[in-house]
């Protein structure tokens, strides 16, 4: 089963997603973050401390499709928003990469839970790059939601079901 867990910053979406995999006995944590600065490092550490012996961690900022296909354990992808940000930084073809991701999800032999931020519910950002990012993020979320069996929206740590 493919699950997309959407939510805002500090909505509890990662903890919720981790719980899904832990209830399956644990699995692989695929971290897409690149550690840029102290603030980000702190976030990564907070996330790591929450995980435990139930988890194996892989760090891969861009090439996640093959890892998803080849995983023989339940996998958590955290998160698509940082993955997208990495794709944009490397000037990848976002549509192509998103389609590759969805093909990988269709071929996955194990449960996959993907975490993603909803970033389009504020005022239009001033700068063009942020607007472009927001557009891509929305499209990635829509495309992956179509490919997913279940889509949850998390607010204050609690889920609303968009699809199941």
């Amino acid at each position: 089963m493919i699950t997309l867990v959407l939510g805002g910053a500090r909505s509890g979406k990662s903890a919720f997603a981790e719980k899904i995999i832990e209830d399956l006995g644990g699995g692989t944590y695929l971290a897409t973050s690149r550690v840029w600065d102290a603030e980000m490092a702190e976030r990564v550490q907070t996330h790591q401390e929450r995980r435990n012996h139930l988890w194996t961690t892989i760090e891969e900022p861009v090439r996640i499709a093959d890892l998803i296909v080849n995983s023989d354990k339940p996998m958590l992808v955290d998160c698509l928003t940082l993955w997208l940000s990495n794709l944009m930084e490397e000037e990848c073809d976002i549509t192509l990469e998103t389609n590759n991701l969805c093909a990988a999800l269709a071929a996955a032999k194990q449960d996959v839970v993907l975490v993603s931020n909803e970033v389009g519910l504020g005022i239009v950002p001033d700068n063009a790059l942020a607007r472009r990012f927001r557009d891509h993020a929305g499209r990635v979320n829509q495309t992956v939601a179509q490919a997913a069996d279940r889509v949850l929206f998390i607010a204050a740590g609690l889920p609303l079901t968009l699809k199941e």
Copy 2:
């Protein structure tokens, strides 16, 4: 039936709203956008390409109430957020115009679907105009939601039902 379709940027709200009208056999697409720059032109074109022979397009940035009352076909209003932005630019009385819109919806002889952005779920914007816009947008959404028979919130292309 009057339907309000709320959602963020690139949430799939327009496509979802178009589908409602297409399932009714098509209708009138009332576009409220003014084409300001290349970026907006690209957005408009993307939207147009998705529409087809099922649609007649009308462009009207401000005076939408009469068009709604007089339509003899199902109508899609896309979107209230750009309409509000046009009202503010022309220094119209937002409350009055919103009440006129709701009176038009009450008098409409056909199904009307209205698309609107939810813009109030981010950090308080730095500039006063953006805050004022955000306040107006929230009030417009509340008022139209009261006038609507059905209100949907779209995320990642999928609906949550706020009212039906």
Copy 3:
């Protein structure tokens, strides 16, 4: 019963929360806002005009836990987001204060309704203080949501149930 009412700016969350208390016959309105400028003063006035003889108003920007415990009437706390902002301004320990709040909610003898903003659904803010605020706000919402019996998410004046 403890109810948390979440929503965006101008989502109708305060009016919805007031209605819950008014349906109980009225109660105490605990206002956490500090009136900084003309814009905020206008907001406060709008809120006050909506309230009536069913309400007693208390203003307390920071020390709300004792007031909650000692209240012998239903209480509306409006809102946790301004309370958090006051805590940050006074350099309080946010985790400690949030835990004190939850202890007060557990000890409350009367219904309490708390209003809070969801602020994490836009693009990552440019400035570090806004990001820090956003992180704290998300954590406060998660923690209070755990302590609450019921959590509602309001958009366009209409509720989605996150917990009940």
